[in-house]
């Protein structure tokens, strides 16, 4: 699972959860796979990214990437920053680990890079 997916995922399909974002992330195994850099895509997607959640995830995973504390309009044009964002969003893969709902503490296991969001009937909102 890439961090761009983590940034979009919520647990609000659970009963009683209103926001369910950001999910806490724990990784037992990670991989780094290089992906072709596409400046347009990154520039297009950045306004949609919850930047604080992304920084928290990078911190949780202990990645050695320096993301500036706050995002600004000028940064969104900065090539160096876009490249870092590309690397963080698309190149790091969580292979094994888990996602944790911030409101209920429900755990969603990640195995072979695929988060399991299946629910029991009693948990469905």
């Amino acid at each position: 699972m890439k961090l761009i997916t983590h940034n979009m995922l919520t647990s609000n399909i659970l009963k009683g959860v209103t926001r369910g974002f950001p999910l806490k992330i724990k990784a037992d195994k990670m991989e780094h796979i290089s992906v072709d850099y596409n400046r347009d895509f990154i520039a297009r997607i950045i306004p949609r990214i919850e930047y604080d959640a992304l920084r928290a995830a990078v911190n949780d995973l202990g990645l050695n990437e320096s993301l500036p504390e706050a995002m600004s309009e000028t940064l969104q044009q900065d090539d160096e920053f876009l490249k870092t964002m590309h690397k963080v969003l698309l190149e790091y893969e969580v292979e094994e680990g888990e996602l944790i709902c911030p409101e209920t503490g429900r755990k969603f296991p990640i195995s072979k890079g695929i988060p399991n969001m299946l629910l029991q009937e009693t948990e469905v909102s």
Binding site: M1, K2, I4, T5, N7, M8, L9, T10, S11, N12, I13, G20, F21, V35, N38, D40, F41, R44, I45, R48, E50, L90, K112, G113, I114, P115, N116, M117, L118, L119, E121, V124, S125
Partner: protein
């Protein structure tokens, strides 16, 4: 025939086991059909030209539709209920990110995440009550309402599906409209049972958009006169009851038209059509 439908054989997470999933990576016919459907769905999605977008693939399965998205330069996230199918997708090294989940429980995404959504042959599964507590109408509504919120304003969702009965089409469209979508059904090749394909083309808010037209197989040909022609010419073959004489030019033209409507490959009409061959000497 009805019993051949995969939905009747078991819930999707059970039906798409390793054996069934393998078909989706080896059977060239399945791959070909799925790829064609995906291409058409993405065409209907009408994403901005030359821009790479983030697309949600609902019921991505082995990632065949995703491969088409990747080829067109888009990023995608896929959701499917079958672990075996997702394993195949990973074997095929699909570029998209995969999530195991049940679309009937809703889309687990933040509001406004995606530029568009496609789904190939998945929606009909929601019409089945595979577990005692499943209620198809509720599951459909949950699916559409959460899908609506995770799309960007003005984004489209194109969902290709195989309805079993006209009632299912009604049920699906009703729940989509109830969830706030506009748009409707686009039917390709409506006159053919084999080539007919249904796409539910939905718009999530934004400006009013024109629903695209379905393919009929006669694009680019001349217009068909909308009015019947009346002439005083005496009907020579009254007993044919409106049918033309076999092997005549009109008969051949009619047959070609019929085949075109079914979406089959038919040679274009010309002045040589139905002309007799010269007698050999």
């Amino acid at each position: 025939m009805a019993s051949k439908r995969p939905e009747h054989q078991g819930p999707p997470d059970i039906f798409y086991n390793e054996e069934e999933a393998r078909k989706y990576s080896q059977n060239t016919h399945i791959i070909d059909v799925q790829t064609k459907l995906s291409e058409r769905a993405i065409e209907l999605l009408n994403l901005p030209d030359e821009e790479s977008c983030l697309v949600l693939d609902i019921g991505c399965g082995s990632g065949l539709s995703g491969e088409v998205l990747t080829e067109l330069g888009h990023q995608w996230i896929g959701l499917d209920i079958s672990q075996a199918m997702l394993d195949v997708a990973q074997e095929r090294e699909s570029e998209g990110d995969l999530i195991l989940g049940d679309i009937g429980y809703g889309m687990p995404f933040r509001a406004g995440s995606f530029d568009g959504a496609i789904s190939i042959s998945a929606l009909q599964w929601l019409c089945q009550a595979d577990k005692s507590y499943h209620n198809p109408v509720k599951r459909l509504y949950k699916f559409f309402s959460t899908l609506y919120s995770c799309l960007a304003r003005g984004a489209r969702a194109v969902l290709q599906f195989y309805p079993e009965t006209p009632n299912q089409v009604d049920m699906i469209t009703q729940q989509a409209m109830k969830a706030g979508f506009t748009g409707g059904l686009v039917v390709d090749y409506p006159n053919s049972t084999r080539a007919k394909k249904m796409f539910l083309c939905l718009f999530a808010g934004g400006q009013v958009q024109q629903l695209p037209k379905g393919l009929t197989g006669e694009e680019g040909s001349e217009e068909i006169p909308s009015q019947a022609r009346f002439d005083r010419e005496r009907q020579r073959y009254k007993n044919l009851r409106g049918k033309s004489l076999k092997k005549s030019r009109t008969w051949i033209m009619e047959k070609k038209e019929r085949w075109r409507n079914k979406g089959r490959d038919v040679r274009p009409d010309s002045k040589y059509t139905a002309r007799k061959r010269p007698k050999a000497f």
